[in-house]
C-alpha cells in the first residue's frame, strides 16, 4: 500500500484508509453476496492492504453503510450467512419527471428513426426501467416501443432482408384470412400506427403490400433466386384541402393554392395507408383524382354511415 502510494505521490498520512477500506467492502458486496470469511480473505489477500478485518469492525462498516442509505441483509446460516447488498444510493434512480421526459422524447423520435435504432432503444428502456420507482411509468417505458412484442430474431432477419432487397417467404397470420405462406420482395420496415410493418412487393397483392411484423410467425426464408419484379406503379392522388394550415406529410406536395383551398398531390405505393390518411382529414379533404380511388372512398364513407344507422344506441 505504502509503495503504491509512494509511486502515485500520495503520502501515507494523506489519505483515509478507513474510507478506502469501506469503498473496497462496498464494491466487493456489489459484485455478489459475501460471507464474513470471504470478506476477511479478500482484505488479507488484497494487493495493497494485506490486513485482516474483525467481525466487530465489519459490523461497524455495515452499520455505517446502512446509515448512508444502503440496505444490507444477512442470509441464512445454511447458505453461508452471506451479507447481501439489496439497495444502495448509487443505483440509477429515475424520478417521475425524468421518466415522463424520456417517454415524451421517445414519442417524438420513434417514427423517424431506423428500426435497428428502435431495437437498441427497446433494449435500453428495458435496462433503465428498473430505476423507475413509479410502477405505472416503469410499465409505460417497458412497453412503449412498438417492437416490444416482436420476436427480435425475426426482426433482425427482416432488417437484413430489406437491406439486401431479398425475396423471402413468410408465414403470416393475416387478420382477415388466417395463417398462410406469402412470398415477398422485402423493401423496408416502417413504423406506423404504433406497429412495425414490412413493406414489400408480393404477387398475391396488387400494390406494395404491408405486413404487420408481430404477425409473422416464423423466421423468414430467403429465396436463392428472385422471381418477383421490383417495378411497381405509384399511386398519385389529387386532393382539394380546405384547411390551409394543414400539417403536410413527406409524401404530400402543394400543386396550387388560392384564398380558399390548396390543391395537393399524395404520392404513395400503399393504398391502405393513403386511404387512412384521407379519411383522417374528414371534410377538409376532397379527392379529385383518380376516379377509382374517389369511388372507393365514397363507398367506405357510405358504409360507415350505414353502420352507425344500423346500430341504434
Amino acid at each position: 500500500m505504502k509503495e503504491f502510494m509512494l509511486n502515485n505521490k500520495v503520502t501515507y498520512n494523506l489519505m483515509s484508509f478507513t474510507g478506502f477500506k469501506s469503498m473496497l467492502l462496498f464494491s466487493y458486496l456489489l459484485e455478489a453476496p459475501r460471507s464474513y470469511e470471504e470478506i476477511k480473505q479478500y482484505f488479507a489477500e488484497h494487493q495493497y492492504l494485506h490486513e485482516t478485518i474483525s467481525i466487530d469492525t465489519l459490523r461497524v462498516y455495515i452499520n455505517s453503510l446502512e446509515r448512508l442509505g444502503c440496505e444490507i441483509v444477512r442470509g441464512r446460516k445454511a447458505e453461508g450467512s452471506k451479507y447481501k447488498l439489496v439497495k444502495h444510493p448509487f443505483e440509477l434512480k429515475i424520478n417521475d419527471e425524468h421518466a415522463k421526459s424520456i417517454i415524451k422524447a421517445f414519442k417524438s423520435v420513434y417514427k423517424s428513426i431506423d428500426v435497428e435504432d428502435l431495437l437498441a432503444i427497446t433494449k435500453f428502456f428495458e435496462k433503465i426501467s428498473g430505476g423507475i420507482e413509479n410502477q405505472e411509468l416503469k410499465e409505460t417505458l417497458r412497453n412503449i416501443s412498438p417492437l416490444k412484442k416482436i420476436d427480435s430474431e425475426i426482426l433482425k432477419l427482416l432488417i437484413i432482408a430489406c437491406r439486401k432487397n431479398d425475396e423471402i417467404s413468410i408465414m403470416y397470420d393475416s387478420p382477415s384470412s388466417g395463417i398462410k405462406n406469402i412470398d415477398v420482395l422485402a423493401q423496408k420496415l416502417v413504423v406506423a400506427n404504433n406497429k412495425v410493418y414490412l413493406h414489400g412487393i408480393s404477387p398475391q397483392y396488387k400494390n406494395t403490400a404491408s405486413f404487420i411484423v408481430s404477425r409473422i410467425k416464423e423466421k423468414p426464408v430467403v429465396k436463392l433466386q428472385k422471381s418477383i419484379k421490383a417495378d411497381i406503379e405509384q399511386l398519385t392522388i389529387g386532393c382539394e384541402i380546405y384547411d390551409k394550415n394543414i400539417n403536410l406529410q413527406d409524401n404530400e406536395k402543394i400543386i396550387s393554392k388560392d384564398d380558399k383551398k390548396l390543391i395537393i398531390e399524395i404520392t404513395s405505393d400503399n393504398k391502405f395507408l393513403t386511404t387512412q390518411r384521407v379519411l383522417s382529414l374528414g371534410s377538409d379533404c376532397k379527392v379529385l383524382y383518380p376516379q377509382s380511388f374517389k369511388d372507393e372512398l365514397c363507398s367506405i364513407l357510405k358504409k360507415m354511415k350505414e353502420e352507425y344507422f344500423a346500430e341504434k344506441i
Binding site: G19, S22, M23, V109, N193, G282
Partner: protein, 304 residues
C-alpha cells in the same frame, strides 16, 4: 418510521460516501463538500478534504475541480451499458440538443447526465467514438417554431389560465383554457390544453397559435374529460394495439372488442378513429358519437 441505526458507525466511511453521493448527484459544489468536514478543526478542513480526494484517487476515481465544483471523470460503481445502449443515449442526446428550452429539455438533459455518470471505461470509450461519428440529425425538428414552443412550455409551468388565439381551419378562434403540456410529435409540436367550458382536452398545432395572454384566474386543479367507449371488429380487432390511455372492457364472441378511452383530446381521437373506417363504431358518449356521424356526413357532402 425512520429506521433505527445501530450506534457504532465509522465517521470516515460516512464522509467518503457522502462525498461520493454529492459527486454522483452532480451537487459537489465547494461549499456542499466542505459541509462534510464541519466537525473537523477549521484549519485542518482543507487537509482533510485533500485526504479524502486522495482516497478516491487511490481507488481509481478521477475528480476535477471545475468552476468551484468537484466533478467526477469516471465512476467507481458503474452500470453495464453496451454498444446498443450507448447508441440510444447518443440519439436522445442529439434530440435533447435541438429541443427548445423548457421542462422536457431540462429533465432529459439531467437524466442523460445521470446515466452517463454510471458509464465504465469501456462505455466511455464507445460513447466518445460514437459521438464523433453519430449522424442522427434532428436539426430540422421544431426549427421554425422554437420561440413559440418555449413560450408554450413557459405558460404550462405558470399557475394561471390563458386566452389563446389560434387558427382553426384557417379561421381565427379564441379559447380560454388551462395550458397543460407541450406534445412533441414527429417534427412538429402541439400545445395540449384543457378547455374549461367544454370539459375536454385539445391539441393545438403550435404553428397555428397567434397569441397567448395570461388571465388573472388560477388554473383548475381537477380536469374531467369524457370517457369514450367504442367498438372495433373484423381484422382491425385482431391487429389493434391499445394506446396508453385505453383498456379493453369486453371481447365479444365474434372477436369484436369494446374499448374504453380516457383523456385523449376529442379532435385527435375522432381523426384517429375515422381512419379505421367501418370496422370502428363509437358507442358513447352520445355527443361524441354524433360528432363522428357529422364528420362522416360532412366528408360525404364533398362528393354530392
Amino acid at each position: 418510521m425512520q429506521k433505527k441505526f445501530k450506534e457504532k458507525y465509522n465517521e470516515s466511511c460516512i464522509k467518503i460516501f457522502t462525498l461520493l453521493k454529492l459527486l454522483y448527484e452532480d451537487k459537489a459544489d465547494y461549499n456542499n463538500v466542505m459541509d462534510i468536514f464541519t466537525e473537523d478543526d477549521e484549519e485542518k478542513q482543507h487537509v482533510t478534504l485533500n485526504k479524502y480526494l486522495n482516497t478516491l484517487k487511490v481507488f481509481g476515481v478521477k475528480v476535477q475541480k471545475v468552476n468551484n465544483k468537484f466533478v467526477m471523470q469516471n465512476t467507481p460503481f458503474s452500470m453495464n451499458f453496451d454498444l446498443d445502449d450507448i447508441k440510444s443515449i447518443n440519439l436522445f442526446e442529439k434530440f435533447q440538443e435541438v429541443l427548445p428550452n423548457g421542462k422536457t429539455k431540462q429533465n432529459l438533459e439531467l437524466l442523460l447526465k445521470k446515466i452517463e455518470a454510471r458509464f465504465d471505461d469501456n462505455a466511455n470509450k464507445i460513447y466518445h467514438s460514437l459521438k464523433s461519428t453519430n449522424n442522427a440529425d434532428f436539426s430540422f425538428y421544431y426549427a421554425d417554431i422554437r420561440e413559440q414552443i418555449e413560450r408554450c412550455e413557459k405558460v404550462c409551468q405558470e399557475a394561471f389560465k390563458v386566452n389563446i388565439r389560434y387558427l382553426e381551419k384557417s379561421k381565427e378562434t379564441n379559447i380560454i383554457c388551462d395550458a397543460k403540456q407541450v406534445i412533441y410529435d414527429n417534427k412538429t409540436a402541439y400545445l395540449r390544453v384543457y378547455k374549461i367550458n367544454d370539459r375536454e382536452y385539445k391539441d393545438l398545432l403550435i404553428s397555428n397559435i397567434i397569441s397567448i395572454s395570461q388571465l388573472p384566474t388560477q388554473k383548475g386543479t381537477l380536469d374531467t374529460s369524457p370517457t369514450v367507449v367504442y367498438k372495433i371488429k373484423g381484422r382491425l380487432a385482431k391487429a389493434y394495439n391499445l394506446k396508453e390511455n385505453e383498456y379493453v372492457q369486453e371481447i365479444l364472441a365474434d372477436g369484436t372488442m369494446i374499448i374504453v378511452n380516457k383523456n385523449e383530446p376529442t379532435d385527435s381521437l375522432l381523426k384517429r378513429l375515422i381512419r379505421y373506417d367501418y370496422e370502428c363504431i363509437i358507442i358513447s358518449p352520445k355527443a361524441i358519437r354524433i360528432k363522428m356521424i357529422d364528420m362522416i356526413n360532412a366528408a360525404l357532402k364533398n362528393y354530392e
